[in-house]
C-alpha cells in the first residue's frame, strides 16, 4: 500500500511537469472533439497522432499521457451528439440516446450533458483509484474468465434487450436479432467461409459500426425530421432548467453502481464499454421500475451508461498496463505506441519504467479533472447547438457524417450502405421498432457467437462446459431471471 502511494507520488511528479500537463490538456480537447466526430474514433485518432509524437521527439511518458488522454477524453465526447441530436458517436453512447434525447427535447439538454459529464468523471476517477491499487491482481483474475464465462455474460446482457425496447417485445427482439445477423456479415473466423456478403468484396471484413450507426441514427433521424414542417419549438430547446444539486445526489447511487459494473467489465479483455453501458442502463431501469421514467427522460438513464462507459475505458487499460494484454483495438494501438518507444509492454512495465506507468496513471487523475472542468462550461455552448436553425445544423451534420465515413474508408460503397441503413432507420422509427437493440445486437452478436464457438471447440462440443464455472452459473441464473421477470411482473400487476 505504502509503496503504491510512493510510486503514485513519483507518477504525479512526472504528470505535473508543465509539458505533460499541457499535453494532457491537448489530449483531453482532441479526445472530446474526436468523440463528437462521427466516423473517427479514438483508435483512428491515436493512430493519426502517433507519427506526430515521434516527429516531435516526445519522451515516451509524454507521448503516452497525450495518447491516453485522447482515449479517455473520447468517452466524454460521444454523449454530446447522442443527447442533443439522438445520434450516438460511438457504440457505448447508444444507450445514452434513450433518456438523453428525450431530456433534450424537454429543454434539458444542458442538464443531461452536465450529469453525463459528472458521471463520466465519477466513473473514471473511481476506476483510476481502483486501478492504482488493484491492477495486477485484477488482471490475473480477468484472464481466468473463459470463453464459456463470456458466453454467459453476453447472454445476460442480451437478455436485457427486451427492457431497452420500451414498446412491443417482439419488435425489440426482432430488432436485436437483426442486429446480430448484421454482425455475421463477413469472413467467419471459425472456418474462413464468407457469410452474407453476396459476393461483395467490400463486405468481406464485415460491416462497420460507424456506417450502421450513422445510417440508422443520423440519416434516419434527418429523413424523419425533413418530412415534417420545420419545428418552431427548436429555438426554445436548451433554455430549460439547469441541473440541480438535488439531481446530482439523486443520480449518485446509480453512478456508483455503474462504476462498479463498468470497471469490472472493462477489466475483462474480451468485453468492453458497450457491454458495460448496456448492463448498467438496464440494471438501473430494472432496479427503479416503479419510480423511474426511463425512456422518457430519466437523469439516471443518462448518468448510468456514461459512468459505466468511462469506468470501462479505464478498466480496459488494466490488462494492458499490468499484463501487456490489450483488450480492445484502441488499447492495442496504445500498446503499439509503447512498443515504438522500445518499451516492452508487459508485466515488468511497472518495475522497469515506473515513470511511464505511474506517470500515466497520475496523469489520468489530472486529465479527468481537466475534462470535467473543460466540459461543464461547454455544456451551455453545446446545448445552444439546438438553437441553430435546422437548415444550417442538419446539412452540416449530414456532411460531417459522410465526410467521416468516407475519410476513414475511401469508399463510396460505405456511403451507399449508410444511406440504405438510413432508409431502414427511418422506416423502423415510423413502425415503432426500437433501434438501440439493433446496435446492441450488432456489437454483442459477434462476441456471443465467437465465444460460444470457442467454448464448444475447447470442450469438444460438450454443452455442459457452458455452466462449468460458478461465474457462468450465476450469470445464467441472472439471465433466466431477466427473461422471466417481465412475465412475473405482469402477473403481479394483473
Amino acid at each position: 500500500m505504502m509503496e503504491t502511494f510512493a510510486a503514485l507520488g513519483g507518477g504525479f511528479a512526472v504528470a505535473l511537469q508543465p509539458t505533460n500537463l499541457f499535453l494532457a490538456l491537448i489530449g483531453c480537447i482532441i479526445g472530446t472533439a474526436i468523440g463528437v466526430l462521427p466516423g473517427i474514433g479514438p483508435l483512428n485518432a491515436i493512430a493519426l497522432l502517433l507519427p506526430f509524437c515521434l516527429a516531435l521527439k516526445l519522451p515516451p511518458e509524454s507521448a503516452l499521457i497525450l495518447l491516453a488522454a485522447v482515449y479517455y477524453g473520447s468517452g466524454y465526447g460521444g454523449r454530446i451528439t447522442a443527447i442533443l441530436l439522438n445520434m450516438p458517436g460511438e457504440p457505448s453512447a447508444v444507450l445514452t440516446t434513450l433518456d438523453g434525447h428525450p431530456l433534450a427535447k424537454q429543454g434539458r439538454g444542458g442538464a443531461a450533458l452536465a450529469i453525463s459529464g459528472i458521471g463520466s468523471f465519477v466513473g473514471a476517477t473511481i476506476a483510476v483509484v481502483l486501478m492504482s491499487f488493484l491492477s495486477v491482481p485484477l488482471a490475473r483474475v480477468a484472464v481466468a474468465f473463459s470463453p464459456a464465462d463470456y458466453v454467459a455474460l453476453i447472454a445476460f446482457a442480451l437478455s436485457l434487450l427486451g427492457a431497452v425496447g420500451g414498446g412491443s417485445a417482439p419488435k425489440a427482439w426482432a430488432a436485436g436479432c437483426l442486429g446480430i445477423l448484421l454482425a455475421m456479415v463477413g469472413i467467419d473466423s471459425g472456418t474462413g467461409v464468407e457469410r452474407y456478403t453476396a459476393g461483395s468484396m467490400e463486405l468481406l471484413g464485415g460491416l462497420d459500426f460507424t456506417v450502421l450507426a450513422i445510417g440508422l441514427f443520423a440519416i434516419g433521424e434527418i429523413l424523419l425530421l425533413i418530412e415534417t414542417r420545420i419545428r418552431a419549438e427548436a429555438a426554445k430547446l436548451g433554455h430549460g432548467q439547469r441541473l440541480t444539486f438535488g439531481e446530482i445526489l439523486f443520480c449518485l447511487p446509480a453512478m456508483f453502481r455503474a462504476t462498479g459494473i463498468g470497471f469490472v467489465i472493462g477489466v475483462l479483455p474480451g468485453a468492453g464499454a458497450s457491454v458495460a453501458s448496456a448492463l448498467s442502463y438496464t440494471a438501473e431501469k430494472r432496479l427503479n421500475e416503479n419510480t423511474g421514467k426511463f425512456g422518457q427522460g430519466d437523469m439516471r438513464g443518462v448518468a448510468a451508461p456514461e459512468t459505466a462507459d468511462n469506468a470501462a475505458q479505464i478498466g480496459n487499460l488494466v490488462p494492458m498496463l499490468s499484463l501487456g494484454i490489450p483488450g480492445s483495438g484502441t488499447t492495442a494501438v496504445l500498446l503499439g505506441a509503447l512498443l515504438m518507444y522500445n518499451i516492452t509492454p508487459g508485466p515488468l512495465l511497472f518495475e522497469q519504467k515506473p515513470d511511464v506507468a505511474w506517470g500515466l496513471i497520475a496523469s489520468m487523475y489530472i486529465g479527468n479533472c481537466m475534462l470535467l472542468l473543460l466540459n461543464l462550461p461547454l455544456v451551455g455552448i453545446f446545448a445552444r447547438l439546438l438553437t441553430v436553425p435546422a437548415w444550417v445544423l442538419y446539412p452540416g451534420v449530414l456532411a460531417l457524417s459522410f465526410a467521416g465515413v468516407y475519410a476513414a474508408s475511401n469508399s463510396a460503397f460505405d456511403l451507399l450502405l449508410a444511406i440504405g441503413f438510413g432508409i431502414m432507420g427511418w422506416a423502423f422509427r415510423k413502425l415503432d421498432v426500437p433501434l438501440v437493440p439493433i446496435i446492441l445486437g450488432f456489437v454483442l452478436g459477434r462476441m456471443l457467437e465467437d465465444n460460444l464457438r470457442r467454448a464448444m471447440s475447447l470442450s469438444d462440443g460438450d454443452v455442459m462446459a457452458l455452466v462449468a464455472s460458478p461465474v457462468s452459473i450465476a450469470l445464467w441464473v441472472m439471465t433466466l431471471g431477466a427473461l422471466l421477470w417481465p412475465l412475473l411482473a405482469r402477473r403481479r400487476a394483473a
Binding site: 491515436i46 516527429a55 474462413g192 471484413g205 501487456g324 483488450g327 500498446l335 522500445n342 508487459g346 474508408s409
Partner: protein
C-alpha cells in the same frame, strides 16, 4: 512551413547527389529520371490498423531522411484485408506512378485463397520489403511442453488434444503457423483444435488463463510476457535466431522442423507502373534500408531486418503465394470464386 520544406529538400538533394556520385546505388542514376507528384501510400486498413502504421511510419522516414522529398500522404482503404485496395489499383490506377500500397504475408495468404477476386500476385509490381516479424510458438510457463519436439509428438498422437488459439480466422496467416506445425508433425491440419480469438491480445489472455495450451503468435507481440517469464517460447519460426531478448529461443529448424514463418511487410505498385517510377520506388526502399536512422525506426514498428527489393522480393512474393495456394488446396480453403 514552406521554408522548412525547402530546406529538407535541399539537404536531400545534396545527399542524393552524393549517393549517385559514390555510385553506391546502381539504380540511383536511373531513378533521377522520375520525380513523384503528390505521392500516396495506400493503407488497406482503417487508421490504426497494421497496414496504416506501415504506411504512416515508413513514409515519414522516407520524407525525414530526404530519400523522397515530396511529402507522401497516407490514404486509408480498408475492406477485405486488402481486396478493395488491389481492385482499386487494378481498375482505376493501373499505370499510376505515384502510388504504393502496403502489403504483408497476410495479403499473400488471401491472394492464394482467391479472396482478392480476379487479382493475385501477378497483378501488381512488387517494390520491396521493409522488414519482417516472425512467428513464434508460445506456451504458458507451466506448460507440459518444454520443446517443439514434445508438442509435435502430442500433435502426431492426436491433433485435437492440443487446443491452440491465435488472433486470426481459420485460413489466416495466424492459422497457417499452427497448420504448418501440425502438418510437419504428420497430422492433418483440418483435425487440429484451432480457436480463433479477436487479436493477439485476447489470445495471450486465453493462454495465460489456461484456456488454450499453445499460442502461435508473433515475436513482437509476445516479447513482454516472455521477458517477464510468464510464457515459454518453444520455437521462433525464422531461418536464424532472432537478435535481442529472443536470442536464447531456438528456431524450429534447429529442432529439425522445416517451418519458417516470416511476416514480411512491404509495398507493391500498380501492374503497369512505368519503369522509371518503379525503379525510383525500389531504389527508395533500398536506400531506406541502408540509412543509419532506419534500424531504430524499423524496430519501433516491431519489425526485424528483412531487406529484399525489386526482382528478389517479387520472386519471394510469388513463391510464398504458390506455397500457400498449395496448402489451401490441400485443406480445401480455396474459395469458389477463383
Amino acid at each position: 512551413m514552406n521554408s522548412l520544406r525547402g530546406r529538407t529538400g535541399e539537404t536531400s538533394m545534396q545527399r542524393r547527389a552524393l549517393l549517385a556520385a559514390t555510385a553506391l546505388m546502381p539504380f540511383a542514376a536511373r531513378a533521377q529520371g522520375f520525380t513523384p507528384q503528390n505521392p500516396e501510400c495506400i493503407a488497406p486498413a482503417a487508421p490504426g490498423g497494421g497496414f496504416d502504421l506501415t504506411c504512416r511510419l515508413t513514409t515519414r522516414m522516407l520524407n525525414e531522411t530526404g530519400i523522397v522529398t515530396q511529402p507522401i500522404r497516407t490514404q486509408n482503404m480498408p475492406g477485405g484485408i486488402g481486396a478493395v485496395a488491389i481492385n482499386h489499383i487494378n481498375a482505376q490506377r493501373r499505370t499510376d506512378a505515384n502510388v504504393i500500397v502496403a502489403v504483408s504475408t497476410g495479403s499473400w495468404v488471401n491472394m492464394a485463397q482467391g479472396r482478392f477476386g480476379r487479382f493475385a500476385e501477378n497483378d501488381v509490381r512488387w517494390i520491396g520489403a521493409i522488414g519482417a516479424d516472425y512467428g513464434v510458438i508460445a506456451v504458458r510457463r507451466d506448460s507440459r511442453f518444454t520443446n517443439l519436439g514434445e508438442l509435435m509428438a502430442a500433435l502426431r498422437a492426436d491433433p485435437a488434444s492440443v487446443p491452440m488459439g491465435a488472433g486470426g480466422a481459420v485460413g489466416s496467416q495466424d492459422w497457417h503457423k499452427a497448420a504448418l506445425i501440425a502438418r510437419a508433425a504428420g497430422a492433418d491440419p483440418r483435425r487440429m483444435r484451432y480457436v480463433p480469438f479477436e487479436g493477439g491480445g485476447q489470445s495471450m489472455a486465453a493462454l495465460l488463463g489456461g484456456h488454450i495450451q499453445v499460442f502461435p503468435g508473433d515475436a513482437s507481440e509476445v516479447r513482454g510476457q516472455f521477458e517477464a517469464g510468464e510464457i515459454r517460447l518453444l520455437a521462433v519460426l525464422s531461418a536464424q535466431r532472432l537478435p535481442g531478448a529472443l536470442a536464447q529461443v531456438p528456431t524450429a529448424r534447429e529442432q529439425g522442423v522445416e517451418v519458417d514463418w516470416p511476416i514480411v511487410r512491404g509495398f507493391y505498385g500498380p501492374p503497369q507502373m512505368p519503369d522509371a517510377a518503379y525503379n525510383f520506388w525500389v531504389d527508395a526502399i533500398r536506400r531506406l534500408q541502408a540509412n543509419p536512422a532506419w534500424p531504430e525506426a524499423r524496430s519501433a514498428q516491431g519489425l526485424f531486418e528483412f531487406n529484399l527489393v525489386g526482382a528478389e522480393y517479387a520472386e519471394l512474393a510469388k513463391r510464398r503465394t504458390a506455397e500457400f495456394r498449395q496448402l489451401a488446396r490441400e485443406v480445401g480453403l480455396v474459395t469458389q470464386t477463383q
